[in-house]
Subunit: 592 residues, 2 copies
Amino acid sequence: MSKIKERISALRRFLEEKSLHAFIIPSTDAHLSEYPASHWSSREWISGFTGSAGTVVVTREKAGLWTDSRYFLQAADQLKGTDIELFRDGLPNVPSIDEWLGQELGKGESVGIDGIVYAAKDAFNLTVKLNKKGLHVISDYDPFDSIWHDRPQIPVNTIFELPLKYSGVSCSDKIKQICNNLDKEGADSLLVASLDTIAWIFNIRGNDVKCNPVAVCYAYISKKETVLFIDPKKLTQEITSYLQSEGVVLADYCKIFDYVSKLTNTTICLTGNKVSLALYDAIPKDCYIIDIPSPADLMKSIKNPIEIEGFRNAMIKDGVALVRFYMWMEQAIPTEKVTEVTIAEKLIEYRSQQDMYVGESFDTIAGFRGNGAIVHYHAMPETCLTISNDSFLLIDSGAQYFDGTTDITRTWALGEVSEQMKKDYTMVLKGHIGIGTCRYPQGTRGSQIDILARKALWDNGLNYLHGTGHGIGHFLNVHEGPQNIRLEENPTTLQPGMVTSNEPGLYRANQYGIRLENLVLTQEDITTEFGKFYNFETLTLCPFDVKPIDKSLLTELEILWFNNYHKMVYERLSPYLTESERDWLRDKTNEI
Amino acid sequence: MSKIKERISALRRFLEEKSLHAFIIPSTDAHLSEYPASHWSSREWISGFTGSAGTVVVTREKAGLWTDSRYFLQAADQLKGTDIELFRDGLPNVPSIDEWLGQELGKGESVGIDGIVYAAKDAFNLTVKLNKKGLHVISDYDPFDSIWHDRPQIPVNTIFELPLKYSGVSCSDKIKQICNNLDKEGADSLLVASLDTIAWIFNIRGNDVKCNPVAVCYAYISKKETVLFIDPKKLTQEITSYLQSEGVVLADYCKIFDYVSKLTNTTICLTGNKVSLALYDAIPKDCYIIDIPSPADLMKSIKNPIEIEGFRNAMIKDGVALVRFYMWMEQAIPTEKVTEVTIAEKLIEYRSQQDMYVGESFDTIAGFRGNGAIVHYHAMPETCLTISNDSFLLIDSGAQYFDGTTDITRTWALGEVSEQMKKDYTMVLKGHIGIGTCRYPQGTRGSQIDILARKALWDNGLNYLHGTGHGIGHFLNVHEGPQNIRLEENPTTLQPGMVTSNEPGLYRANQYGIRLENLVLTQEDITTEFGKFYNFETLTLCPFDVKPIDKSLLTELEILWFNNYHKMVYERLSPYLTESERDWLRDKTNEI
């Protein structure tokens, strides 16, 4: 804790030197990543808070962290003893950052942000809001270059090609399609900073970010040339030849600003909240900017048949590994010391035995008892719970395979199941089935169907505050856009080929957490005189715990879906299992 | 039809005189009303299309009408033989107006709009889009002043006060509250052009627009003064005294532009799509404009206890009138000639016998057989159908009473009911009950619950393209914002005191239409550790036809809601009925 106080003091000295009165430190990097490379983990470094979302603001006297409901409990815990105040985003009467700065600072004072890691759109919005309060925004400094002495370098790991047999469409074909889409928007070029988008376009993968197989780089795509800005240290002879054969021009990572600043009289398509302020500002004034969601991101979200086939294969491998893991867990909990950390380790062990396994797609969340109610809980060896025969154990985990990415949550009732546990679990299951069985017309947005995951909970005065579903990359980031299923509006419609998670939950603080998650694929269903209808195919293959189900609370249709799902899990996984594993799975997938 | 052609020719001559190449004629007026006074019905005059929503565009060679799904059938019918092409908004591959103009006109050509009747925000968006296509927008002309020879004058009917016993809150108190809300937004004043908003703020009502008890006027509200811009011919001695006693300054209607143009160095709150371009442009450049949804509109939508009490009383009166009407209808259809037009007349007759009846809240939609599938059908004496003992009869009607506004739709099965009719009707009823029984947390938007009205339909490959619910005024416009329940996103949350319609439907072209509509009041339900939850109280009191219900398709909860609703209808209405009417209603509200 004293370390955190020292770091904040160092930042305050920096503020005084530069005549700043506050500094805003977002959780992101120069590419607006959800999970940044450690070079850019300055928000974690300054606060000790390790969650994936959160913004720290330091004034000369005070400091605050703003984060969302997923991290309320974790943040409160990690901020203990730091003098950093926790602001719970989204709760009533919690001031926004600009409101708080308006209270804390005096007219004419200055707020610093690092333009390199601040999304252009966010910076514009912030500037408007702070200007209204008489405050200035200064975006010229990265204080961490001077105050963070052992700051890690920007990573330079080598990249590799994702072969056509996994990617399904060649880089040059994707670029052609992007150029067609740019034409429709009236744009000459596309400027991309998002690492997963670049990885998808160029069919490359990297190792620069934990769990996210991406490489730090920028791209500029126009009908004239396609340039990949990447540190040459990351390139092998092989990948250089591959990229050149796809017509890609290679330039050093640091040259992007220089390149962009020399563009002239051209119309550039970019996404204002996916490009840094510094890069946006580097564009000369004689260029026209079309700020829209990236056409490449929508293309990426609509998986091609090879990618979908890869997802199906990955699900079988993941399912087999999970059967083995759960078989181990069942016998281990009563007989040996199993902790939340052991669970994460064992999951890696079983998954790593599978073909084409690369690594975890995110840090496993294994939350026992009250830890399950911490939505993005990360168990630490020193503090993790030992699993015993009571309460719920929530396990949210996933893997990266060359042919697909997985993300699955199951919640297991250990020991006695109370009436409240049964009812809670069954309401979450009803929500999960509500999404799983939903038919919706072409043009439907995720926010329109979100209620199907919540209705049973709402009817009982229950709720969860996180989203119901996020898009998922193909051997890429476990969270990707542009579609999602959330309370909040998102104009992207659900389209055939999109893979999205279906993960309602319920969290009783200090008691337990429940979340049930499968990945689902949007597919065409029926066409009638009233239009085209879509539905979801569930991709994930793993039984649910049936013990905490109160069958009397399920409708006939819900029971039918559940039994059919379990039947499919057994049919798809059993060919890959040993006899004893098959017996175990048959038992777990019996009809309810 | 030849009249329409002549009018379009006159407009084309006007285009040539003014060196314009196209003119866009929206359906609205200087106040951006949904239903304009006849002076502003230029879109209807030029095209013959009488729907409430639609935009005509005339170029030197072509003409088109853009309208939404409610009016597809009606518009196709009314445009027959006019050379005006119908563009069905919202269907795939239908160009938007700007796209179409981009195709039809050459670079450098000019598109005219009348800035007096064009919403400022729409004009800005249009200008950006047309400029991108190399087209100019000219907003200086109202062609109809010269080409529409017998154009009606702007109405000058006298206005009257809505007494405190009906309005619930005095004008001066409302102005105080508005000023408080302006403070919160950092604004000095509010500029209002919306007629219903002004009527609500000042507790005045008028007769300038059919079915909408509003008066043509503008208002400017600031902490210094509140000015009502209204033609002095509309003011009696009494209303002048009343307004002055509330601290309102009176000015002539036409003085608004002059007044606004003399404002200096002030921050004005307005709503860009509720204020005309001409009025917006009259604001001097040294004023700061805050363009947000009007704080007065949100205040208006949250009904106060007196207004809610008024709604309840109006519902009883309307319910009694409807019992008498349906009793008449039942015996009349087999014995005398009953047409779609007779139905509208009889509804007025029965409703006008009720206390404090003012008039219809909209033109009755009585659609028999295929006419019921025309969502905003308006029966004409020459062409209307005679009701016989078959198919569905859809009746959507409402009334204005001094103490409230009603809007109700029932669909009656006459004669034999086919299996398809039963299933269709029951699916719509399930949707209606889905909204009626919905519990939702504080902060929920209408678009989130809309699916509850559609789920049963979607599950069967059915759908309707109109909204599920609109806000409704208190003795004011039958359609009011800001909340609604629709497929489309709307950031307004549903808040206690809001009255909204619940009207799912199903339309089989050339066969029949089904719509079931009640008005519902958002109210507080329960509060748990997961937050505050709201639900709906159904206000409308009228039995549904039970004959076309397939009870086997309803859940126990749906049957319970239905029987409870019918029980409430009987209990609330029976004290006001004669014995024979009571017997009839008891029979109609028997448990299913």
